[in-house]
C-alpha cells in the first residue's frame, strides 16, 4: 500500500505538472480552457433541449458526446473516491467513499461500454495515421492537429484496453476463487490499472478540451474520417 501510495502520488503529481506546464507554455490557455468548458456545457444543454427536433444522425452524434461526457464524469468520481483515501489517509477505501465508489462503478462500466460501441469506429486507426507514424520516423515535423488527433486515438484505445484488467480484477474478486494473497494481488492489480487508466484518461480529456479546435461547439471534434 505504501509503495502504491508513493507511486500514484508521484504519477498524479507528474501529470498535473505536465498539464500546468503546458498551460503556462500556451499563455492564454486558462481562459480558453474555461471558455471551452463553458461552450461544452452550453452545447450539452442545447442538445438536450433540441433532442426531438434532431434527425437520426444528429441524435447519434449527440448521444456520442453525451456518453463521452457522462463516462468522463463517472470516471473522475471513481478516481476521486478511489485514490483520495489512499493518497491522503494512507488507508483502505471504506465507508461512504466505498459506497459511492461501488455505486458509480457499474454506471461507469455501462457508459464505457457505450463509449466503446459509439466511438470505436470513429477513432479507429487508418492509413493517414500509419503515414503519420512513418513520417515521425523520418523526422518530418508533424502537423499539430494530426498529432493531437493521433494522441486522442491512442488515448481512447488505451483507455479501453486498460479498463479490461481494471474490470477483470473486480470481477474475479467478487467470486470465491482467490485466497488472501490472491485477493490482495487483485486489489493491487485494480489499483495499478486504475492509476494507468487515470493518467491516460486525464491526458485524453485535457487534450480534448485544450487542443481540439471546434468548428462547432462540440466537446469532441470528429477527428477521424
Amino acid at each position: 500500500m505504501t509503495v502504491f501510495r508513493i507511486l500514484s502520488g508521484l504519477a498524479i503529481a507528474a501529470l498535473l505538472c505536465a498539464i500546468a506546464y503546458d498551460l503556462r507554455r500556451r499563455g492564454d490557455s486558462w481562459s480558453r480552457l474555461k471558455q471551452s468548458l463553458h461552450d461544452q456545457a452550453k452545447h450539452a444543454a442545447r442538445v438536450w433541449r433540441q433532442r426531438k427536433s434532431h434527425g437520426r444522425k444528429s441524435t447519434l452524434d449527440n448521444l456520442r458526446r453525451i456518453v463521452y461526457v457522462v463516462a468522463a464524469v463517472f470516471f473522475l468520481l471513481l478516481a476521486l473516491t478511489g485514490f483520495s483515501p489512499i493518497l491522503f489517509l494512507g488507508g483502505h477505501l471504506s465507508g461512504v467513499l466505498l459506497i459511492i465508489h461501488v455505486t458509480i462503478a457499474p454506471l461507469f462500466a455501462l457508459s464505457l461500454s457505450a463509449l466503446a460501441l459509439l466511438w470505436a469506429h470513429r477513432l479507429r486507426f487508418d492509413e493517414g495515421d500509419w503515414r503519420f507514424v512513418l513520417g515521425l520516423g523520418r523526422r518530418r515535423s508533424p502537423g499539430k492537429e494530426m498529432l493531437v488527433g493521433l494522441a486522442l486515438k491512442v488515448g481512447f484505445w488505451l483507455v479501453l484496453f486498460l479498463s479490461l484488467p481494471l474490470m477483470l480484477t473486480v470481477i474475479l474478486g467478487l467470486f470465491p476463487l482467490f485466497g488472501t494473497e490472491g485477493e490482495a494481488l487483485l486489489i493491487k492489480g485494480h489499483g495499478y490499472s486504475a492509476l494507468l487508466l487515470m493518467l491516460v484518461a486525464v491526458a485524453e480529456m485535457y487534450l480534448t478540451i485544450a487542443y481540439v479546435h471546434h468548428s462547432t461547439e462540440h466537446p469532441v471534434k470528429e477527428v477521424g474520417p
Binding site: 479501453l160 479490461l164 473486480v170
Partner: protein, 627 residues
C-alpha cells in the same frame, strides 16, 4: 604484624566470597530441564506454612502449604508474579479482560472491579471491599497468590481476621494437580468459609477439611481449642487420607507436563443462554479442544508464569515478541518476523479465505468471524465462572442470574479491529465531584433502597429491585443528606447517569462511567464451516445482519429502561445509516456481477475485433508492398 594483616585480608576475602556465593540464587532442581521428556514423579513430603514436615500423628495436624511444599524444588518467588497472581502488581495490565463483578441486588448494584488498571473498572477498595472482603467474595475463583498473600495489601482493621484465616498463598494445584480428586469447587467453598490456609489442602483430593475460620472469633488460635462461647462451632480441622502417604511420609501428586483443559475450565467457563440449545449436549466445544488440543498448547508460559494471552498486539504491549507466535495468526499464518517458519504448529491449517477482500483482515480480529456463539438477531445472555460462581455448590443456576452479561457484542478493540465481546452495563450509586465518580459501598445504599421499597408492600422483588424515578430521587436525596461534602449523588444505570437537577427532578445524561464494560472473547472457536461469511457476504452485510444490526439488550434496575435495547452499531463507532446503506448495496451484488461481466465482454470484444482488423490491415499492407 604482617602475618596478622595477611590473615585479616584472607578473612575479609573469605567473608566477601562467602557473601557473594550466598547472594547468588541457585536454580531450583525443578526449574532446570535436562531435556528428558518423561514426566518427573512428584512423590514429595508435605510442609506446613511454618515449613515443618507434616506427619499424620501431629496434633493438631496442619494443612500443607503449597508455598512451602513446592518451593523446595521451584522458584516460588518468580512464579508468584505470574499473570494469574500479579493483578495488584504494577506491571502491564494488557488487553482488557473480564473483571470481577460485584453484584448486590438489594442495593441495585453491579459494578466491574479489578486490581488491574483496565479502563472502566474500579479498584475493590472503592466500593468498601477490603482485601479480605474481596477474597471472601471472589477468592472462590482465584488460584491464590497476589493480594491473598501480600502483607502490604492487608488492611490493619482486618489484622486479627488474617491471623485466623491465614494467607491465601498460590495454590499450585489449582492448575498443576491432575488428580481426579482435585476439587476446585472444594477450594472455592473453603475460601468462602475464610479457610484460606486450609483451602489448598481441602481441594487436593487426599484430605478433608471441616469447620469454618469465618465462624471463629478473632482470638482463635490454631493450636488451642475453641473458646467456650463458640462451643457449637467446629474449628477448621484437617484429616488426611493416610493411605496416600508412603512409609517415608510422602504423597504422590499427579503433575503432568501439560495440564488438561479441565484444570483451566473451572475458572474460565462460560455458558451461553441460547434458547435454541437449552441442553448441554446440544452445544459444541471449541474446535481446538475437539481436535485434542489443550489450553496450554497456545496459552504457554515459562517459569515466570506470564501466560501468553494470545491476542494480537500482546507482543508489542507486553514487550514479548515471542507472544506473536502464539496468536491465531502466529499458528495459522505464521509471522514474517520469525527467523524460521512457525505456521502450521500442531497441524494448524493455513486459511484460504477464498473471495474475502483483504480489508477484512485489517478491520477484523480473527475472533470476529470464528469465535463465540453465532450471532443472532438478539444478543444472548452469558454466564461465566467468575461472574456467576459457576462450579461452586449452591451457586444460582438460573439462566437469568445476575449479573446480566450480553454476548456477542461486536465492538471495536483498542487496535481498531472489530471483535466479539461480552458486555454488561454498570449500575451503582456514586458521589460525583467534577468529573470523578466515587462509588458508594453497597452496605451504605442497601438500607436506603430497602427503606424506600419497604413502603410499597405490593412490590414484587425479582432479579432486580426495579426502581422508579421517585424512588431513585429519594435515594439520591438521602445520599446527599448523609454526606453533603462528598459530592453530588448520582446513579449510574442502563448506560446513563441520573442526578437531581436544579429543579429537583431526575435528570439523565450520558457519561463515560455509564458506558458498558466490554471485554473481548476468543472462545469457543467455531469450525471453518461455521465461520461468519461462509454463506457469503450477507452473513454480515445484510440489512438485518446481526453483525451490525443485532439487538443488544441492556439490563438495568431502573424501571424507565429495564431491558432497553440498542443496535450493534452503537459499539462500532459507526453510523447505523451508513452501515445500512452499505449492506443495502449487497442486494445488488449479483446484478453487479452480471453487469460487469457483460461490460467486460463487450469492451474486450470491441478491442479484440479492432485489434484483429488492424492486424488484417497490416498483413494486407505488407502483402501489397511485396506485390
Amino acid at each position: 604484624m604482617k602475618t596478622m594483616t595477611n590473615t585479616c585480608i584472607f578473612a575479609l576475602f573469605l567473608m566477601l566470597s562467602g557473601g557473594l556465593v550466598s547472594a547468588q540464587t541457585p536454580e531450583n532442581i525443578g526449574d532446570v530441564a535436562d531435556g528428558n521428556r518423561s514426566v518427573p514423579v512428584h512423590l514429595i513430603k508435605l510442609y506446613d506454612e511454618f515449613d515443618h514436615v507434616i506427619k499424620l500423628d501431629d496434633r493438631p495436624v496442619m494443612p500443607f502449604s503449597a508455598r512451602q511444599t513446592c518451593r523446595k524444588c521451584h522458584d516460588y518467588e518468580k512464579i508468584r508474579h505470574g499473570w494469574h497472581f500479579n493483578a495488584a502488581d504494577s506491571g502491564d495490565a494488557g488487553r482488557r479482560g473480564e473483571p470481577w463483578i460485584l453484584v448486590d441486588r438489594q442495593a441495585a448494584i453491579q459494578i466491574p472491579l479489578s486490581y488491574r488498571r483496565w479502563t472502566g473498572t474500579y479498584p475493590p477498595a472503592s466500593v468498601g471491599l477490603s482485601t479480605l472482603g474481596f477474597l471472601k467474595t471472589f477468592g472462590r475463583h482465584l488460584p491464590g497468590g497476589g493480594v491473598g498473600e501480600k502483607e502490604g495489601a492487608q488492611e490493619l482493621s482486618d489484622y486479627m481476621r488474617w491471623q485466623v484465616s491465614g494467607t491465601l498463598d498460590v495454590n499450585c494445584q489449582s492448575c498443576h494437580n491432575a488428580d481426579p480428586g482435585q476439587s476446585p469447587a472444594e477450594y472455592g467453598v473453603q475460601v468462602l468459609r475464610q479457610n484460606f490456609r486450609w483451602a489448598a489442602t481441602a481441594s487436593s483430593g487426599f484430605s478433608t477439611v471441616q469447620g469454618s475460620a469465618g465462624e471463629m472469633p478473632d482470638n482463635f488460635d490454631l493450636y488451642s481449642a475453641v473458646p467456650p462461647e463458640q462451643s457449637n462451632s467446629l474449628p477448621p480441622t484437617v484429616t488426611y487420607n493416610a493411605s496416600r502417604f508412603d512409609v517415608a511420609g510422602r504423597v504422590l501428586f499427579n503433575v503432568p507436563r501439560k495440564m488438561p483443559s479441565t484444570q483451566c475450565s473451572f475458572c474460565h467457563s462460560s455458558k451461553v443462554i441460547d434458547p435454541s440449545r437449552p441442553e448441554r449436549w446440544q452445544g459444541e466445544e471449541d474446535v481446538h479442544s475437539a481436535a485434542g488440543m489443550t489450553c496450554v498448547d497456545c496459552h504457554r508460559n515459562g517459569l515466570d508464569h506470564l501466560m501468553v494471552r494470545g491476542y494480537e498486539g500482546e507482543a508489542e504491549t507486553a514487550g514479548r515478541p515471542v507472544a506473536a507466535l502464539f496468536t491465531c495468526r502466529g499458528c495459522h499464518m505464521g509471522s514474517i518476523d520469525a527467523p524460521v517458519p512457525v505456521e502450521g504448529r500442531r497441524g494448524a491449517p493455513r486459511p484460504l479465505h477464498l473471495g474475502i477482500p483483504p480489508v477484512h483482515f485489517d478491520k477484523l480480529a480473527c475472533a470476529a468471524c470464528h469465535s463465540g456463539p453465532w450471532p443472532t438477531a438478539n444478543t444472548h445472555r452469558v454466564k461465566t465462572s467468575k461472574a456467576h460462581a459457576l462450579g461452586i455448590p449452591k451457586s444460582d443456576k438460573a439462566d437469568d442470574a445476575l449479573p446480566q452479561i450480553a454476548t456477542p457484542v461486536f465492538a471495536r478493540l483498542q487496535d481498531g479491529t472489530f471483535a466479539p465481546h461480552d458486555a454488561f452495563w454498570p449500575a451503582f450509586w456514586a458521589y460525583q465531584r467534577q468529573n470523578d465518580l466515587a462509588p458508594v459501598a453497597p452496605d451504605r445504599v442497601r438500607p436506603l433502597v430497602k427503606g424506600v421499597l419497604g413502603r410499597d408492600t405490593t412490590r414484587v422483588i425479582g432479579r432486580w429491585p426495579v426502581l422508579r424515578e421517585p424512588e431513585i430521587l429519594e435515594i439520591l436525596r438521602q445520599l446527599g443528606l448523609e454526606d453533603s461534602t462528598a459530592g453530588n449523588p448520582v446513579y449510574v444505570s442502563g448506560g446513563g447517569l441520573y442526578a437531581i437537577s436544579t429543579g429537583g427532578m431526575l435528570a439523565w445524561r450520558e457519561d463515560g462511567a455509564a458506558k458498558p464494560y466490554l471485554w473481548p472473547i476468543a472462545h469457543d472457536v467455531r469450525p471453518r464451516a461455521q465461520s461468519l461469511g461462509v454463506r457469503g457476504c450477507t452473513d454480515c452485510h445484510a440489512t438485518d445482519a446481526p453483525f451490525h444490526f443485532g439487538v443488544v439488550t441492556i439490563a438495568s434496575p431502573y424501571v424507565v429502561n429495564p431491558d432497553s435495547t440498542t443496535r450493534m452499531t452503537e459499539y462500532q463507532d459507526k453510523s447505523a445509516v451508513s452501515a445500512w446503506v452499505f449492506s443495502m448495496s449487497f442486494l445488488f451484488r449479483p446484478g453487479l456481477k452480471v453487469l460487469l461481466i457483460l461490460c467486460f465482454v463487450l469492451i474486450a470484444s470491441v478491442v479484440l475485433i479492432s485489434a484483429l482488423r488492424g492486424l488484417a490491415h497490416i498483413i494486407r499492407t505488407l502483402a501489397a508492398e511485396e506485390e
